[in-house]
Symmetry: C2
Subunit: 304 residues, 2 copies
């Protein structure tokens, strides 16, 4: 396997919308830049928390191009490109590779349930073959609580065996440390990059050979998460882990995406940031006040 380590703290950058619910490229680029200047190693744009699945293929491509044209290095981008439709996944993946993105984060096709590993192997394989570009670095996206279609250890093994130069890692958002540990045991020694899908597991992941985290809360708490990433061998790493886990615990009492957007809206004093696309709904004023009070009590600030 070619070494190409993208380890670190990555954020599935949230996607701002304008009043008419169209994506807002200017706010998006400003948030992306802020994240990269405040602790994020890179951006897993168009992840679950980016409301990517509420965006059309064209909307995603336009936003990605805007980022690259406005100063975000593609070397720090790992956009989500996995869709239900094979042809959409191919189109988005080829587009990301063409822009020079460091990697892509690929959901399995998620509409049909109970599909076989053979069917999922064919899905990823068709995308890799059709894109047909040696620059492609594919990170698998395992998030069974949402996608309902997961990526098994044996599927990873089969893909790695067939495409060792292309299949580069995985984001494990199962929420199940045992699964992350099994991935690390099976593949980390070969250079396969395992990202925790929550910073709650960042320290454990790094201690067991993982390379970092790609997590929702990195949108609002990048500096503290980065601090743990940089200092995970230090004696106070456990305390850092506890602190960032406590912040996450507050945020995830609320619907995650609306909560992240409410925090950014407050931090920037920019109410438009709170807008979500249906089927999501923004926080109620009661939820927002409660979240803000809890974060204040926690000493949290969206600090630059």
């Amino acid at each position: 396997m070619t070494p190409h380590r993208l380890g670190g703290v990555w954020a599935p950058a949230i996607t701002p919308f304008q009043k008419d619910l169209s994506p807002d490229p200017e706010r998006f680029a400003r948030h992306a830049t802020w994240l990269l200047e405040n602790g994020c190693s890179g951006l897993a744009a168009f992840g679950t928390n980016s409301e990517a699945n509420s965006l059309s293929v064209e909307e995603r491509m336009t936003l990605l191009e805007y980022l690259v044209e406005h100063g975000v290095s593609p070397a720090r981008l790992m956009p989500g490109t996995g869709c239900c439709a094979l042809t959409d996944s191919v189109r988005l993946t080829a587009h990301a590779v063409g822009l020079g993105c460091a990697g892509v984060l690929m959901l399995p096709p998620f509409y049909y349930k109970g599909v076989s590993d053979e069917g999922l192997f064919r899905s990823f394989s068709e995308v890799i073959e059709r894109v047909g570009d040696v620059r492609l670095r594919l990170y698998l996206y395992h998030i069974p609580p949402v996608a309902q279609v997961g990526i098994s250890i044996s599927l990873v093994a089969r893909l790695l065996k067939r495409y060792p130069q292309t299949v580069a890692g995985i984001k494990d958002s199962s929420g199940d440390w045992n699964n992350t540990a099994a991935l690390l045991d099976a593949f980390a020694s070969t250079g396969f990059e395992v990202f925790a899908g929550s910073e709650v597991f960042l320290l454990a992941n790094l201690r067991h050979g993982g390379v970092g985290s790609i997590s929702a809360t990195a949108n609002v708490n990048p500096a503290a998460i980065r601090q743990l990433f940089e200092n995970w061998r230090e004696p106070d790493a456990g305390a850092m882990q506890e602190k960032i886990a406590a912040t996450r615990a507050v945020v995830q009492k609320y619907p995650m995406i609306p909560a992240l957007k409410a925090i950014v809206a407050r931090g920037l004093d920019d109410a438009q940031w709170a807008t979500v696309r249906p089927p999501l709904v923004e926080l109620s004023s009661g939820q927002r006040e409660s979240l803000e009070a809890e974060l204040d009590a926690d000493g949290f600030a969206l600090a630059g």
Copy 2:
């Protein structure tokens, strides 16, 4: 509510693919025509069993236009237009209405799980408002076993109240007769059209005020299902119901979509029809032989 009854036997027409996995418009139009000549009242193209969620927006639009240009009356079309992304659903719905389709069958956005009725109301409402065409007849598509996001009775009530001229009916693929009965009790008397999502419930549905069925097996068994629809008040309706339910029971022992395609491939002596898009996998030869033997024993034939 404006009367506009599309009742009858509708098929979610399966979508043929060429060797390179691209959609095959010619085979598609031939199958569509065969269905309409052999019992189907209309075609719910781009349903779950059409592998619609494995097709891009452009692929769906191209196929739909091909059907209309090749002799399928849009008055007999109710294409699926519900996607994860609001903008995709709007685009497909406007396109279908523009072609003159009798209705559209709309999934809720299905990536994000545990979403609220408020969020789903906004999703459907945004599509209706943005399409902004009095010709739109929207049929809700409730299929929680696959989509994992369902359409509650109270959501139907709210949509009907706000858009009584547009929200025309529902396909209930919950597999739960109690849910279908609750829909019929609540809404059938107003003209709201309840379709059973399986012909197993066709007789019960018609007896309780429903208007027909939209079901996978109509792709291969349209004449027998139509016979029950035409004769549901006759004394032998129960026997007809048993017969079509027995055929369905055989088919659904196997993965449904590959099984339907295998049956068509055999009936037309056209092996290319068996192709499915990943993440689905065609039947193994053992499965195919077993299915064929069971259907032969059942006296089933794909008859024109």
